[in-house]
């Protein structure tokens, strides 16, 4: 597979300008295998842009992005597809493909390298993990937002890559499925995958991430363990809101706004 001594990603002084606006400003960051890295921050802080840099959709206007120790742009589209999978925020499918068809498309980068049985097995495994087995023969277009998100997650899991990039995978999900997604992410990280996940829910980030990065106005504001980064002071300074940072009975972080 890949050289696991090098970090999955090494970003150095990455900036990205869109038009005249600076959406990422001098971000340096390592993403390591075997960890969940949570990207948090207010709307428009540059989380999705940073993820697009890692996935190779956007090239930085300055700075360098390395994947497994080699420049990201030295990878072909196919090589990249065997290294990292990406779940976008919005997922649509143009024609009435079934959920099973869509998840099976996740196997595309491995065409001709794996046999059909492996593809089927990984596909059904992924559908189990994302809890969409019962939707297998339904048309993707006819699903609810949350079901679409889970089916797309299954497609990403079926791609079976060492690096998994998830942009707000929990956004449209109910409480149970939010937890399910994070359990899957945890399992991936424990088995050596690098998982980068954009989250809005600081409690989810606090409870599940190994490392949290807070972006603010395109800059990397804070980085470290959840305990070190998610504090009343940092949340106040980045989000401009007063919060309580509490502990649940299992000593995991909970973030709630201070309400009158």
């Amino acid at each position: 597979m890949s050289d696991h001594r090098a970090p999955a990603y090494r970003l150095r002084n990455v900036s990205c300008e869109r038009g005249s606006q600076c959406v990422l400003d001098d971000v340096s960051l390592d993403v390591n295998y075997g960890q969940i890295l949570a990207l948090v921050g207010p709307n428009g802080a540059g989380k999705s842009t940073l993820l697009a840099m890692m996935s190779g959709d956007l090239a930085p206007s300055s700075g360098t992005v390395e994947l497994n120790g080699a420049p990201l742009d030295s990878y072909s589209a196919k090589e990249l597809a065997r290294q990292r999978s990406v779940l976008l925020q919005a997922n649509m499918v143009s024609f009435a493909f079934t959920v099973h068809d869509v998840v099976l498309m996740g196997r595309t980068p491995w065409a001709k390298t794996s046999d059909e049985d492996t593809d089927e097995w990984l596909t059904s495994q992924a559908m189990q993990d994302a809890d969409v087995e019962h939707l297998a023969s339904r048309s993707f277009q006819a699903l609810s937002g949350g079901e679409k998100a889970r089916s797309s997650l299954a497609r990403v899991l079926a791609q079976d890559t060492p690096i998994v990039l998830l942009d707000e995978p929990t956004a449209s999900l109910d409480l149970r499925h939010q937890e399910d997604v994070m359990v899957v992410a945890r399992r991936l990280a424990n088995s050596g995958h690098a998982v980068v996940v954009v989250l809005h829910d600081l409690s989810l980030a606090g409870a599940w991430a190994d490392e949290v990065v807070i972006l603010s106005n395109g800059m990397l504001a804070h980085q470290g363990t959840p305990e070190a980064v998610i504090t009343e002071a940092t949340v106040k300074s980045v989000y401009g809101i007063d919060v309580h940072v509490l502990r649940d009975p299992n000593d995991r972080l909970i973030v709630v706004p201070k309400r009158a």
């Binding site: 990292r84 999978s85 976008l88 649509m92 143009s94 079934t98």
Partner: protein, 351 residues
């Protein structure tokens, strides 16, 4: 899921067999119809004679045989080829624009090709010999596709409303260009352009069929080989790229092939709209959206549709040969209307 898969396979097989049988039937019926009556055995006998097998079915009347070989057969062949090309071109366009409403006629590729061809007719161009009209049709079709494609895309995304609006603009411009050709051309050129603009397979010659075969058959095969990629593309550009698909290259190759497939037909039979809209839609309803089946079966069903449409065009009104483009638009227009209405109410229809 063993049972549904088996059912699906049987369904595909049934549809395939039915389409092939109906196409053959249509081809034979089409060759039989006309002022000079020919029987089914005449048709088969002449066909076998044509490919070098002499049987007892060979028509005794020399005139019948010559009519079949020189007039009817090239006409049937042309309708099959053009139908297949237009239908598969429609399916490919719908895939690369991610919208079931995209079609060479709607988007303006057909009229762009028509303008190119009309120019060649009007100025009596012979630069490329027998290929002149075809080459100009291709250039016109290609340029209008590029124009639509570059206008309708911004920041790597295809805006479908923009796409259709651009199509309107190109259709209007090409319409004006055609009118100008007719206005300024001589009487003979004028008549040629008018008839040809209405779309008719009447008067197809083997030399023309040969050109269409050379252009469309490789294009149809090439497109069919990319079926899996078109499937992945339906996840949207970015997700398709994340799965290792070279989206930009796929689109450019597809655009060239669509322009070729459309122009080859338009150059010799004129504008036949809506085949690329109706056929893939029906195949999708029957067999689902997978391009592995959609593309080849659209080609077959397009051949089926046009061979029967051409037959109808000749026999609906006794003694007259209706323009086939008129017939397909008569059916295709309301169908497009229905598609627009159903797409409007469904999520993802526009975006």
């Amino acid at each position: 899921m063993a049972a549904p898969v088996a059912v699906r396979h049987r369904r595909r097989f049934t549809v395939l067999v039915v389409i092939i049988l109906l196409t053959l039937l249509g081809a034979i019926a089409s060759a039989m119809a006309g002022q000079l009556a020919a029987s089914g055995t005449d048709v088969l006998g002449s066909f076998l004679h044509g490919i070098g097998i002499n049987t007892g079915w060979r028509p005794t009347d020399e005139l019948v045989e010559q009519t079949l070989l020189q007039i009817r057969f090239p006409r049937v062949a042309m309708s099959l080829l053009v139908g297949a090309s237009l239908a598969i071109a429609g399916a490919v366009m719908q895939s690369i624009f991610g919208n079931p409403l995209a079609e060479p006629g709607v988007v303006g590729v057909s009229s762009g090709a028509a303008l190119g061809a009309a120019l060649a007719i009007a100025i009596g161009m012979t630069t490329f010999g027998a290929w002149s009209i075809a080459v100009m049709a291709f250039l016109g079709g290609f340029l209008s596709t590029i124009l639509v494609y570059s206008t309708a895309r911004s920041e790597g995304r295809t805006e479908v409303v923009t796409l259709l609006l651009t199509g309107i603009a190109i259709n209007a411009f090409a319409g004006a260009g055609l009118a100008l050709m007719m206005f300024s051309g001589g009487a003979a050129a004028r008549e040629q352009i008018v008839f040809w603009q209405l779309g008719s397979i009447n008067g197809s010659r083997w030399s023309e069929v040969a050109i269409v075969v050379i252009v469309t058959v490789p294009a149809i095969l090439w497109v069919s080989l990319m079926a899996r990629r078109y499937d992945v593309l339906s996840l949207g550009e970015r997700s398709a790229a994340h799965l290792g698909l070279n989206v930009e290259r796929l689109r450019i190759v597809s655009i060239v092939l669509v322009a070729l497939l459309t122009a080859a037909g338009v150059a010799f039979v004129g504008i036949i709209a809506f085949v690329g809209l109706v056929v893939p839609h029906v195949i999708r309803m029957l067999l689902g959206p997978s391009h592995v089946w959609l593309l080849p079966l659209s080609a077959l069903a397009g051949a089926l549709l046009l061979v029967w449409a051409d037959l109808c065009a000749r026999i609906i009104i006794d003694g007259s040969d209706l323009p086939i483009g008129l017939l397909t638009s008569l059916i295709g227009g309301p169908f497009f209307f229905y598609l627009v209405r159903s797409a409007r109410s469904r999520a993802g229809g526009w975006a």
